[in-house]
Symmetry: C2
Subunit: 361 residues, 2 copies
Amino acid sequence: MKTLSVDLGDRSYPIHIGTDLLANKQLVTPHVSGSQVMIVSNDIVAPLYLEQARALFTDFKCHHVILPDGEKHKTLNDLNLIYDALLSRHFDRGCTLVALGGGVVGDMTGFAAASYQRGVNFIQIPTTLLSQVDSSVGGKTGVNHPLGKNMIGAFHQPSCVLADINTLNTLEDNQLSAGLAEVIKYGLIRLPEFISWLEQNMDKLLARDPQALSYAIEVSCQCKAEVVTADEKEGGVRALLNLGHTFGHAIESGAGYGNWLHGEAVAIGMLMAAELSMREGWLSSKDVQRVKDLIIAAKLPVELPDMMTYDVFMDLMRVDKKVRDGKINFVLYNALGDAKVTHDFKAEHLRQTIEQYQKKN
Amino acid sequence: MKTLSVDLGDRSYPIHIGTDLLANKQLVTPHVSGSQVMIVSNDIVAPLYLEQARALFTDFKCHHVILPDGEKHKTLNDLNLIYDALLSRHFDRGCTLVALGGGVVGDMTGFAAASYQRGVNFIQIPTTLLSQVDSSVGGKTGVNHPLGKNMIGAFHQPSCVLADINTLNTLEDNQLSAGLAEVIKYGLIRLPEFISWLEQNMDKLLARDPQALSYAIEVSCQCKAEVVTADEKEGGVRALLNLGHTFGHAIESGAGYGNWLHGEAVAIGMLMAAELSMREGWLSSKDVQRVKDLIIAAKLPVELPDMMTYDVFMDLMRVDKKVRDGKINFVLYNALGDAKVTHDFKAEHLRQTIEQYQKKN
């Protein structure tokens, strides 16, 4: 097991990464406050891991609530299922929520914890690669609105993250690939050597080699932890973690939540960011091809869904959280492994970039 | 005009109290961030004051959204009206929300500001006595759940509070009395001399004498500001501000939101807290009579609604935010003007207290 730390003063917390962690009570017990524990999971993950998770909390009054699976259920309305469960069981302000599942479960549980009785404790037990390397760390929580992704939410840090690599054995192939998109992201943002490692080890990752997965998760969490420590509320460097996300959120929203996985949309978004950077003269065409090859190697898409025309993109991106005073801020590249936030690019290059990745047939 | 300050480091903010403040742009302009302003009001207040409020923000892109009036609309569902307005107008993370109305509008606007894009700026323009002396100051925001009042929310401080006493001229008599309940509360918690002042000046307050109202609002806001400065997130002394609220929230919920005004429920709650304190030997029967007389003088109720039996109280109070590990914490009295939080009282005395204030006919 490897333990990393997110250093945020009295709100610091550990990230435990390893195998068989769901059998180790001692890792979570110190991070439970109060006597009441509510495990939040979904109808895909609960049959696989709820029993093991409940066994972690036998020293407490433990209940659970099961959400319907999927991004299309990441709504204010579905959030009410968590509040209903807490209130009908008389959960008080000293209770602990536990997120057992992927990014949707983590984001919703985190926002429920941020807002129940104006804020209670919570623990993340991510069971997908994407949530282990990204969404479970850093305290971004929230739900979607029909007009934009993650538009309703809060910054609320967990008290502990438990990433048990065993849970990746039951993950579907497309979910594994979606997680790899966020792993690739860390390389593209600020770890040039990790890009090379990924190019050499993508086959092992897809074959779920435990050592390769462990290393990729550790590097990713370390990078995320450093960035969050430096800039918890995204005033500066944290914004780089949104590489591919302005395009990606528009695709998720435009295609209808749940039709494209978050990681799939981010993958092509990172490629489009490379294309736009090339058109601005910051990357070579060889750099763009390298990004494209890595995304293809991870079995991620490099063509947009049909409905994502220029006009649809512009309309959806105008409500992105990276917009200030009407200007869209993109994360683009100085070089591969060196990202930057900017709104200083030619509108014509943006149009060409979008057209470049529309389906050709 | 009088200006008080809530001192919370870089989140400190002014409370301006006086007449004709809605005509004074300079008070709010420094507290607007970004270029977009969304005024949130309701269908009672908007016809009276929206035009004046909009004139404060002519230097900005100003829009508004009108909520249905009343505590029964303080729901997650109605909150969506604010998110819808913000997203359909492409409001970004740099925008400012303005609450123009009473406690419901303030709490909902504040929670929308806390959660829109994980947190944006907001300004409070309270137009009722209750919101001017209590809810607009201190950063408690939220909505109700069918199983409990203010169960979903956040701590999120405004950047400015503008309490224009002119707006009290259009307030209905029962709303004025409801506000006086919270004014009385400050005296009962920690200002014994203010209790005497209130006993001598209640007629002037009910007659809306501007000088008497100004003084009462200033004393109340000063007390609230001091308590919030000392304990922003209610770890200690701030809990005293909940005098009467554990009983009161149960009454509001039991009677159906909107059937009893918050201040009315708090008034009888403060009287019941006095009764329970007397039964524990901490107050004299003369003290209880003094509280009762003051509440009657403010034209507030001293008899419970029919449905509030002992069992109903107990069931509703078990989900109160003051409950920890199954113990109900009440704010009770060491003496009038000296409140304390305790769960150390006889269950039998609580039962007798509830029965004492049930209707006798």
